[in-house]
Amino acid sequence: MSILFYDHLINKEEVIILIESTDEPENHKSRAKQLVDDIIHQEIINFILDKLEEPKHKTFLYLIEERPYDPEIIIFLQEHVSPTIDRELQEFKRDFLSEE
């Protein structure tokens, strides 16, 4: 199951393939994939919180907590951060992964 509101913008396939291609125990691979997933997730939250005006932080976090899958979160961010937030998230992910 892999459904968070930004999943369609963030392609982690290359990293997953890289991890899967190693000849390592399955539990190590799972741990690595989980860490990558969680780091990207928290980086995205940080990225958005940095751009979102403070009074809206609570609403944003509430939306993530209550309906983590909801495409309406992107719509909320388009209204309150930038109309091109989806593209910015894609670019942010590219920059982030190239650092690793």
Partner: protein, 289 residues
Amino acid sequence: MPTTNLARSIANLEKRSESVRSRLLKNKTAKNFFKKSSLIAFDLREKSGRLLAGAGLVGTLLALPLQPPAAIEPIKAVASQDALTQRQKLLTKIQDVLPHNPSKLTPEGATTVEEMVKEHTGITAKAYLEGQSLNHHLGYMGFEQHLKRYPGDSLAQHDEIQEAGMAPGLGAWGYFARDANQFTTKDYLNEKYYVAVQTLYLENWNQDFAELRDWYKNRKVLVINPVNGKAVVAVIGDAGPAEWTGKQFGGSPEVMQALDLHLGPRKGATLLLFVDDPDNRIPLGPVNY
């Protein structure tokens, strides 16, 4: 043992994860949210899975093309307002047909119940699956203790409802993992959401033990409390309870909590069906519908 490349990467990733988390916790609002709930990706994915499975929307979202978000129909109304309605609808129907005492459904009766469950939860659940059936589909479920997940596991390492205690012996299938190093998230969830069923009283249990053990071990089930409609997806993780107890099923502390049967007598009537989920798409845990 030499440190492998992946092990080194994991160590680096863990450091990075801690550093990102620290940065996130500098935000006051985020810090407050972390105090009362989990905002980590794994937990949120679990939650998403349960909400979407409950609303029967998993396939819909997985199949969504990469289109601009604005074009995506918001689904919050389905998963929130409609959620209560679905549960109420199922309750109204199911309470009319389910006996409120331990019993085995006839194949015809089972089909009626299965259709109702499918219609309102989106989950395909069967009383009879691949030629297998338990002796009871309706039965009293009692509150069980935590199970040891690997050698050396202790109660303190279980994250919830520690007051339930830990069973002195192992579950019917032994440890969930061979040792702490090989303990996976899947093992963690299998213990968290386990049920005990009376496989030991199946007519052919001793005769076909090897085959039946493999079939029943960690078999996914849907448990519904027909009084309040609360439902949880779990795995068969133990055998029991004994016939003399008057109970037919046992539930882990988390399963009983999900069904709202964890207080008072810590026992209640439940409907228990096999989940027909060959692609393993239905996550374990409470079903929100």
